[in-house]
């Protein structure tokens, strides 16, 4: 038996050395993609396997930042009223050639119309193929768009119903990945429309070669990629759901990069000479929201007092095990317009108690809702709730911890059944609007997305002004002011921003941790 194993390992070793010449990068991904059209799904796992490998968008996020850079559009301009955006498309961009499709033309404006109209127009022949266009709906694109016009083969104009400066960032999001209209026509003629989402054809740096559910996804480099062929010849996603096992595979050299390590393994990874433990502050925020419609949380002074009563450092040490930073603003520090001048409430139980007395609040009984799931912005909500419960007990507030099944939790909290609750947010497009307007605006207070149910007119006015300006410097100023109001009013206790860790083997060079959570194996990524 030993001999057989030895021969088998020898064979494996020889084969591995043979493959080393054709550079193969193995990514131990955390799950199976839901499908291969990012417009239909919402999981980061799906985006890694589709939009970040197979597709491109009109504009894209620069790897490692949230800066919007040209993608399939070489340049773009906005009209003075902020209602029209004109995109000049890149020439000579080739779609993938696959077993099912050989493109006869380069990418052009028809592909843009096909992609967007499919999501937008209910009478589009592909609209009902596949399912819901989740992010298109969540970003409210349907009511934002007035028309999309092809000016010529390489110019497209988007007209909006209202000025919305985060619009261009929206177009860089995964859901806006550009499909081939020619492929769509071919499939429609062959009566195989559904294949467009399962046998993807894009313009991206990698071509999908094969997929075995829950097992492996294989890609090969796109030889004619418009931004230069990838250094990696073959890209493999070895699907490994358990994070401890992913680490064992990384250690054994069975994969080069792994996402979402187990916090308990971080120390060992740090001291492993074969592993480079990369880190970056996540584009997220974890918070406790006060239901400002319910007394006594409708009083600013009570919210401020309870904010002061929480020892955030203890939460960071216990719940985040150090893998986070204290949050003082509703947006993370890596985001533009982050106001570093804002001063957070200090941990001061004595002052908190005095303020509660001043507000005439004594013997307060309340609840803290704790999420039943683990999220990047809150690895253990139950534990966090217990710490807050203990802190509040010190100032005479008795809080009961409540939890529900996740779907139920979201639904009931949207209906405002909670007194105080834990939740958080991970950014979609790197724009401050995507945090502040969605989570704290008056519109969101009415629809329930604003769990504090807090509608502050001056704050909301600033956000609406910022939406209408296209100049980033002007917008920064408005958001900075909004953050000052937010802190003063304290509708949330901002708790923490997590730190995202990415263990990568030393032989991988040029890999960057992306703030939006994507894993990108193009753009300078190579193997030694």
């Amino acid at each position: 038996m030993k001999k057989t194993l030895l021969i088998a390992s020898l064979g494996l070793g020889l084969a591995l050395s043979g493959v080393a010449q054709a550079k193969t990068l193995v990514f131990c991904s955390e799950g199976s993609p839901e499908g291969f059209n990012p417009a239909l799904y919402s999981a980061g796992t799906t985006f890694d396997a589709s939009s970040q490998t197979i597709y491109n968008r009109l504009v894209q996020f620069e790897t490692g930042t949230t800066k919007v850079i040209p993608g399939l559009a070489e340049s773009w301009s906005a009209s003075a009223d902020g209602l029209e955006y004109t995109f000049n498309l890149r020439k000579g961009v080739k779609f993938h050639t696959t077993e099912d499709f050989t493109p006869t033309r380069d990418f052009n404006a028809d592909d843009i119309l096909f992609t967007y109209n499919r999501m937008w127009k209910e009478d589009h022949p592909y609209h009902d193929v596949g399912g819901e266009y989740l992010y298109f709906g969540w970003m409210d694109m349907g009511s934002l768009l007035k028309s999309i016009d092809k000016i010529d083969d390489y110019t497209v104009k988007f007209t909006l119903t209202k000025p919305e400066s985060p619009f261009v960032s929206n177009l860089a999001m995964d859901f806006a990945s550009v499909l081939s209209a020619e492929y769509g026509d071919n499939l429609a003629a062959a009566g195989r429309k559904a294949d467009i989402d399962h046998k993807p054809v894009g313009t991206g740096p990698f071509v999908l070669k094969s997929y075995k559910k829950d097992s492996m996804i294989r890609y090969i480099a796109h030889d004619d990629y418009w931004d230069g062929r990838s250094n990696i010849d073959k890209l493999v996603f070895a699907i490994t759901t358990d994070n401890s096992v992913r680490y064992q595979k990384l250690k054994a050299g069975e994969c080069h990069v792994m996402p979402y390590p187990n916090p308990a393994d971080l120390a060992a990874m740090e001291s492993d000479p074969d592993i480079n433990l990369m880190r970056q502050e996540g584009l997220n925020v974890g918070y406790l929201a006060f239901n400002t419609e319910k007394p006594p949380f409708d009083q600013k002074i009570v919210r401020q007092a309870l904010s002061m009563a929480i020892d955030k450092q203890a939460i960071l040490d216990v719940v985040f095990e150090g893998a986070g930073s204290i949050a003082k603003n509703p947006i993370p520090p890596t985001m533009w317009s982050y106001n570093d001048d804002v001063v957070d409430y200090p941990y001061d139980p004595a002052k908190a108690k005095a303020m509660l007395d001043l507000a005439g609040v004594s013997g307060l009984k309340t609840n803290i809702w704790a999420m039943p799931v683990q999220r990047p912005y809150n690895p253990n909500a139950r534990r966090m709730a217990e710490l807050i419960q203990a802190d509040w007990a010190k100032v005479g507030v008795e809080a009961e911890i409540v939890t529900f099944e996740w779907g139920e939790y979201l639904k009931r909290s949207r209906d405002g059944e909670h007194d105080t609750m834990l939740l958080g947010w991970t950014g979609d497009n790197g724009d401050p609007d995507n945090f502040m307007f969605v989570l704290l605006g008056c519109e969101a207070a009415a629809s329930g997305g604003n769990r504090a149910r807090w509608c502050n007119k001056p704050f909301d006015y600033l956000l609406r002004q910022a939406k209408q300006k296209t100049d980033q410097a002007e917008r920064t100023e408005l958001y900075e002011m909004a953050q000052v109001i937010f802190k003063e009013e304290a509708p949330w206790v901002t708790i923490a921003h997590s730190i995202v860790f990415k263990p990568v083997r030393k032989e991988v060079i040029g890999f960057k941790v992306h703030p939006l959570g994507s894993h990108i194996f193009y753009d300078g990524v190579d193997l030694k």
Binding site: G11, S32, S42, G130, W138, K213, K249, K251, A252, T426
Partner: protein, 339 residues
């Protein structure tokens, strides 16, 4: 025999309907629905929520949903996964061979070690050998699968480097999906060394999944053997001067096997349950992992379809076990024929 078979098959009909009801009810008893879970923190407006639920047919009264589901099942349609938009039956049978392959290897491992261990323990009753085997089997039976799997990975894959950590086949091999059974597909392919790689990948998961059945089989074999060994006919066989090997292997074991076969039948359900954890640890692309994911995402059609198909498999295996009794012990068949 035919009469017996028909009787048994008739009995399966109410069981089948019971299972459809349980599978249908189970996922709906859980709070939350797929639309809420999918939207997460982003939320979904009540109008949109209602619209999507209506599209999926979840707005109708439960009894109506159940009967339309039942009607679809009888036509062989298990519905379409809410998450992936693919037919449930297609997803299931894409992953099922991997689970069958793993479960078969696990049970073979359990039998090869478990039966001889049970026989040895029975024949050495009361000695340290017996106590040692029973002690080990109790340990195996109590072993948490997750912890056991990780322990073996750390020892055999990382420290000794003998086995791969997880997966079904090394990424360097590209083998076509023919039967879905990796051992067969690799034999059919012209990728040299791929069969060894597949076998190599099967070792640890089979050992982990087979550990509990092994313990059960060893203990059952021991107690069945002890019972049989005290029977008169065994004493007679011994008195006739037959060799101890003949007495044990030919006379005693065959009768003891009836209990063991029953246990194997029962183990199939346990194996499928154990597969959920084993598949998660070893990145094994089988139905266990798929069902778990479907439950978490409230993929109603996938969960009810998957549970139904698994239940049908367990029913079929138990039917086969019933039939096997007759071959092992013809007296049972005769008794059945009389009744």
């Amino acid at each position: 025999m035919l009469h017996f078979l028909i009787n048994r098959l008739m009995l399966l009909v109410p069981v089948f309907f019971g299972v459809t009801l349980v599978a249908f009810g189970f996922i709906r008893v859980l709070p939350g629905d797929p639309v809420e879970v999918l939207a997460g923190e982003r939320g979904v407006s009540p109008e949109k929520h209602a619209e999507i639920l209506a599209q999926l047919g979840f707005d109708k009264p439960l009894w109506q949903q159940y009967f339309s589901y039942l009607g679809d099942i009888l036509q062989g349609d298990l519905g379409v996964s809410i998450i992936t938009n693919r037919p449930v039956i297609e997803e299931f049978f894409e992953l099922f061979p991997a689970t069958v392959e793993l479960a078969t290897c696990a049970i073979i491992f359990a039998l090869i070690i478990g039966i001889p261990a049970g026989i040895i323990a029975a024949t050495k009753r009361g000695t340290w050998v017996d106590q040692g085997i029973m002690g080990l089997s109790l340990t195996g039976y109590s072993m948490p699968i997750f912890w056991w799997g990780l322990l073996l990975i750390i020892l055999f894959s990382n420290t000794l480097g003998w086995t791969p950590v997880s997966g079904r086949l090394s990424f360097i091999f590209e083998v076509d999906h023919v039967t879905g059974f990796m051992l067969i597909d690799t034999l059919l392919s012209d990728e040299q060394g791929s069969f060894w790689s597949a076998l190599h990948h099967l070792i640890l998961p089979s050992v982990v999944l087979g550990t509990i059945p092994l313990a059960v089989i060893a203990r059952q074999t021991r107690s069945a053997m002890l019972e049989v060994l005290s029977e008169d006919y065994v004493r007679t066989a011994r008195a006739k001067g037959l060799s101890p090997f003949r007495v044990i292997a030919i006379h005693a074991l065959r009768n003891a096997l009836i209990t063991v076969v029953t246990v194997i039948g029962l183990q199939v359900a346990l194996l499928l349950a154990g597969a959920i954890l084993t598949e998660t640890i070893f990145g094994w692309p089988g139905i266990g992992k798929w069902i778990i994911f479907s439950v978490f995402s409230r993929d109603y059609y996938a969960v009810q379809g998957g549970l139904l198909l698994i239940a049908v498999c367990v029913m079929i295996v138990n039917l086969i076990v019933d039939l096997l009794y007759g071959f092992i012990n013809p007296r049972i068949l005769q008794q059945r024929n009389k009744t």
